[in-house]
Symmetry: D2
Subunit: 338 residues, 4 copies
Amino acid sequence: MAENVIVGIIGAGRIGRLHAEHLVHRIPRAEVRVISDIRLDAAKQCASELGIARAEADYRKVLEDKSIRAVVICSSTDTHADIITQAAEAGKHIFCEKPIALDLGRIDAALQTVEARKVKLQIGFNRRFDANFRGIRNGIRAGKIGEPHILRITSRDPAPPPIEYVKVSGGLFLDMMIHDFDMARYLIGGEVEEVFALGGVRIDPAIGVAGDVDTAIVTLKFKNGVFGTIDNSRQAVFGYDQRVEVFGSKGMIATENNTPNRIRVSTAHSVQEDLPLNFFMERYIDSYIAELEAFVDCILEDREPPVGGLDGRMPVVLGMAARLSLEQNRPVALSEIR
Amino acid sequence: MAENVIVGIIGAGRIGRLHAEHLVHRIPRAEVRVISDIRLDAAKQCASELGIARAEADYRKVLEDKSIRAVVICSSTDTHADIITQAAEAGKHIFCEKPIALDLGRIDAALQTVEARKVKLQIGFNRRFDANFRGIRNGIRAGKIGEPHILRITSRDPAPPPIEYVKVSGGLFLDMMIHDFDMARYLIGGEVEEVFALGGVRIDPAIGVAGDVDTAIVTLKFKNGVFGTIDNSRQAVFGYDQRVEVFGSKGMIATENNTPNRIRVSTAHSVQEDLPLNFFMERYIDSYIAELEAFVDCILEDREPPVGGLDGRMPVVLGMAARLSLEQNRPVALSEIR
Amino acid sequence: MAENVIVGIIGAGRIGRLHAEHLVHRIPRAEVRVISDIRLDAAKQCASELGIARAEADYRKVLEDKSIRAVVICSSTDTHADIITQAAEAGKHIFCEKPIALDLGRIDAALQTVEARKVKLQIGFNRRFDANFRGIRNGIRAGKIGEPHILRITSRDPAPPPIEYVKVSGGLFLDMMIHDFDMARYLIGGEVEEVFALGGVRIDPAIGVAGDVDTAIVTLKFKNGVFGTIDNSRQAVFGYDQRVEVFGSKGMIATENNTPNRIRVSTAHSVQEDLPLNFFMERYIDSYIAELEAFVDCILEDREPPVGGLDGRMPVVLGMAARLSLEQNRPVALSEIR
Amino acid sequence: MAENVIVGIIGAGRIGRLHAEHLVHRIPRAEVRVISDIRLDAAKQCASELGIARAEADYRKVLEDKSIRAVVICSSTDTHADIITQAAEAGKHIFCEKPIALDLGRIDAALQTVEARKVKLQIGFNRRFDANFRGIRNGIRAGKIGEPHILRITSRDPAPPPIEYVKVSGGLFLDMMIHDFDMARYLIGGEVEEVFALGGVRIDPAIGVAGDVDTAIVTLKFKNGVFGTIDNSRQAVFGYDQRVEVFGSKGMIATENNTPNRIRVSTAHSVQEDLPLNFFMERYIDSYIAELEAFVDCILEDREPPVGGLDGRMPVVLGMAARLSLEQNRPVALSEIR
């Protein structure tokens, strides 16, 4: 007989509500028993809409509930490490949104508690669960392109976030490119040795005033000899530009953007297709469901989560190295980041 | 404050369970209160899995329930017309799977009751709600291709149904091409005047023994001067082949098949993409949700359903005309079918 | 040591000049010694531009020249059959533009002389030599799609010809669709048994006044069980629309239009590609060269030409059957055409 | 009356014969009077095949011929600078294959003579004349993508050259990536300020033994703020991989590879397209004709050639900077290269 995982959700913001809806409606083996948010109203409204039994203002109420087996942490980034530590101490399995923290000391402390308490920890790098990117990785693993030589990741947002968000985001390398650093490790299945960064302000001068860049290229030198590039822009006017290409000794595997339809219109002027999907929730909706299904299954089947603590830590190291490279205009070895 | 539509589902087979799941989990403005099936076990299991309050063996229990505002008819085709009639008499709004019946007399009787009782009736031609086909129609309506001249519909199943099903299906023209007849009317926004059919057995001789064809082409002459072709095959080994193309005075609008990903693999031998989606539930899942959302919204907002009684009747007429054309190897005017 | 074929060209109109240029500059094994045209000036200008030794007004001078081994007939359609007959009697190998004639009696008489004199005859169905269509046929022959079931040919011109031309053209079925009838036979490798035609005037009423149609669909029933459709339009505003698709028991093979480049532009409004090539000389230039190379090689290697007398006759039969079908609104067997 | 340019060709190797054939057969306004090669036999054979009046062993005979107005230099790279100088002194207009030299001093000396003698000099960066790349540049110039932000050039050969060639080639950056450096300048219409290079040996260890790399990525920082990447591989098993993408404030313009046909085959296993064109002469044949047409037209119309001396010099500077960057693992400013 099928067992369910009793879940508590911490944080009822946009991503918390999304996870809650998926757990309630789309993942039969999960049962959401409580949702907490420092804005109790938000937690209550979400609970009411989705038929979740309890809403709390204090996440510690979630951790204290003995019936809760797993927590999904969707609170603000600066709280992740502490809540991971406390949840681990309470014996809960943990799904946590990225990044764990913007400070390696705090990350390492949290990961040590997770390891000591032998709870499962999965980081919310949802793009690994996208059909395109998962298919690329599987194709590489299946040997379709032989040995990988060159990786290219293009990752461009449809529009920049509010400037207030930019100011506290940790910067493009840690807020946006962090997904691509994870993707690079995921696709190549190996670690990066050195990075070199180019960056500038081309979209909005206010981003520069805030001390950040909005356009950047980072090259990656992997330990296994693969070379990679990541390019980011805060504004691709044609939509959410999310592509990768891996070139190897026996071929190339690459993905186009997803589109809302497969229509082509031919007129006297041009042949037109629709724009790529524009919004991350639309583009990545299936991957958000799949990552939580994987988390729930790992608990039920007592397996390691597919995106673990090290996978949460390394992209932060990469982001820090890229930032240092940009500041000093020189290649930076990851071993320099401590 | 949002009102909900209380729904009863009649039939807990494959499509009934699909609609039930969507109504329960994906359409917040609907509430499923009861599901019936002559196999009570099937109804009970579905109710249990989805948290539906009641399960019944007899659909009349659904019709007798005063709290039920709308029914979704997913029982076998030969029961549709009778249940429509009874549901209309009970004052329920009706969503009914296609076809209404394979007999024009029964269709007309049912539609008369619907009209007399002023209940809403929507027929389950879900493909109208697919993003590709809806986009084609909207593009035509928006004038992107000027006056339509030539319509082409390609509609090929991944594999033939069981031969037992073929025997009772009404034949390819009424079971399979009926969707395409609806699509033709939907896209062109006008009525067909005359059809001519070619058909044969190329996939499985057993289909011929059962008196049916598995491969067919029908040409359509529309009253507004458009010419069309529909081609059907019971077996496209590469997947579910569902494409349309409309050519007009100012251009052409067409759709490719949907695929599970947008990956391209280039090797020493070829450049490969993934096959089209293979299964109708996968290919058309969003359209099944959208058609029920539209139905619920029509009730709540007191509007005409987007696929009405005439839309249920005309594809049956077209299927009969095509069958007659094939039998007599001559063009058949729709006016001949009574 | 390489031998050359000495060639005479009859007709210095558009297509004659094209063939002359190719024979002079692109086909080393051919040598053009004379070109004739009833407008001597045209012949002289072409000879001067291309360094051809002689220009004549009377094609009989070409036939009388003993050094000439092969003639390329590019004169007006009504002269083809007579010149074929005379050229055959003069012992010349013959390349003749399509159609041989619009009268089966004249065609058959010409073919009989060709056979009696044992000269080679190749008809100018150049599209057989196009990389797309040749690749489709080769793929079918190689078994890539198993047994063919359904053929679709789309063939739409960028713009209608001058109305004066329409009046003497023999009509859409014999002037334009004749290429597609040849293509159908070439791709399927079998003969058609019966056709059914739809046709109308949608582009230009003057075409109707001239007794012709500008938009047509013809269905084909092949003796081997394949069903086909051909659709023609005199005006595809987006360019020269030349596509085929063949669906079979093991798959499908199809071709997109050729474009002048492979550029994609993504803007805030759409993703755009360039239009298909617009002009038949641009679209089919390589096939014009290839058909003449094949003709020259057949002479030098004493092989049968790849497009023979029957290939010239059958499309005319198909065109006549289609015209009769349209007139009488009924399927017409090819056996009815004598 | 149309005037012709009398041309002499220096060098009857592969590229020399190609240019000769194009000048003779495809460019009516040119007339080739003489071809020279230190291997007189090669020159004679080419002259014989193409009907060129004279063949010489010594290129100085070409320069001494007063009737010759322009020379096309296709001799070995180490002779280019000297022959340019001597041709300029002889008052000939000059088309010269890339690179001018691998030594900036020799390049500058040759360019000074060209300038002093006021002869025209065009460098053979043929890819600028390719329909894809020219269309990309024209699209950018027309403002289709607004301000360019990110440039990506992918340029991968189908197979490595013979190792003997690699040894004398000047290395990947000066032999292969030199085309991409030119392309970068051409597309962006501005100069590069700084480069950073990654490179390694992934294809063939013998290339490493020869002191070269076979896989490389170079990032470009343009003076106008654009960032770029170029990636090269000596072996793309799927064909000649030649793509660019330019991303800007108002959109993106990119090009796919050219293929020999537009056929798609769908089977039970995959949807397949043909591989990209595999050989540079096949892929770029039209651009070779177009660059010589442009050269001839510049002479006849007394205009500046579209690829001038500076365009010949800068890619060499970029190649040297990239090589230095790889050696020292640091970004290198072009101003460091003298």
